[in-house]
Amino acid sequence: MTALSATVNNDTLAFMVTAVQEVGGEASLIDRAKRRDSKAFELLYRQNVDRVYALCLRMTSNVSEAEDCTQEAFIQAWNQLDKFRGDSAFGTWMHRIAVNAVLGRMRKSKREAYRLEVVAENTDPQPLEQNDGELRDLSEAIDRLPEGARHVFVLHAVYGYSHVEAGELLGIAAGTSKAQMHRARRLLAQQLAEDGYRE
């Protein structure tokens, strides 16, 4: 991502936040979107897309796949808006949908999952951390993790979900989530030691 695009995105975000405040906030936007107001839904998209995309990118380790998953997540959200009761924040609800979009995409077929893994291994990932060399190393090391370990590490270590919550999101047992976390930490430790990760 270039500095220019970052500036544009920040400007756009600021504009949209202002627009959201003017039209009455997230709850109002959700109500309007439930009534099939696509303009209101676009504002919700602008508010949440960066977080949804980040999650998709960290889970897929591939820009193109992350873009597709992000779009799929918002399309699913539009189609399921009537199920959103407001028990959690809209962003939390979107996270769940995004995880399902990523997993659904990977579960479509074993071939697809295999392809995603191959792409992840062969693609030079987008540098996610601009300023800190160590964080960039960590981010790139996460990208190289096997799929199962990567998903758990992203949800548990990066996003702070408990193993129970991560297990629910991923459709696995909490114990499995813990095991995958342990595996992820071991693999990361090995990779980062080779990269001179500081103690």
Partner: protein, 183 residues
């Protein structure tokens, strides 16, 4: 890796960006998808086809209704291509000599063609022609009583046209007769 380093790993992981803007605007693709009308399960294709048929029937019925309604005396507006034909009628209606000749010629050719047709086809055609000609006679009789009746004039022209159309179809006659403006 030591425990300390392991803790550092988790701390750093928690500090990774959770918000990353996509490199391109993804909204247009989403917008295109959500604004697309639903297809498939909700509305089977036969339903669309049935709706199209109903629309067609209603539409054509509407046109027929409007056409018939426009033939009422108070709202008759003859199309431009009928002006010349109408001029042949009016208060002292009569068929032009050109039309009478053309009609007579067509009828003669039709008689020749009819002889070549199978008996069943010939009987059906003769019956149709008889119905049309009976209608022409009746309309003419009414026009004799009310020469200025625009509705009857229009109806007479329409019936003559139907007769000509039928004769043309049977005899495979050329359009030169129809294109004549001496009706």
């Amino acid at each position: 890796m030591t425990d300390t380093n392991d803790d550092k790993l988790l701390r750093d992981a928690a500090n990774l960006s959770r918000s990353i803007p996509p490199e391109r605007d993804l909204w247009p693709g989403i917008e295109a998808a959500i604004e697309q009308p639903k297809r498939g399960g909700d509305s089977p294709s036969w339903l669309y086809q049935a709706a199209a048929v109903v629309l067609l029937v209603v539409g054509s019925s509407g046109v027929t209704y409007i056409t018939l309604k426009s033939e009422e005396p108070t709202s008759v507006v003859a199309p431009e291509d009928l002006f010349y034909e109408r001029a042949a009628f009016g208060s002292s209606y009569s068929l032009g000599p050109g039309f009478t000749d053309a009609r007579g010629g067509l009828a003669a050719k039709l008689e020749a063609q009819l002889d070549r047709l199978p008996p069943e086809d010939r009987a059906e055609i003769e019956q149709n022609l008889r119905l049309i000609r009976d209608a022409i006679d009746e309309i003419n009789a009414e026009l004799a009583k009310d020469p200025g009746n625009a509705q009857l004039q229009a109806l007479l022209l329409k019936t003559y046209r139907e007769e000509l159309t039928l004769m043309r179809r049977i005899g495979d006659l050329t359009q030169s007769v129809i294109s004549r403006n001496d009706i």
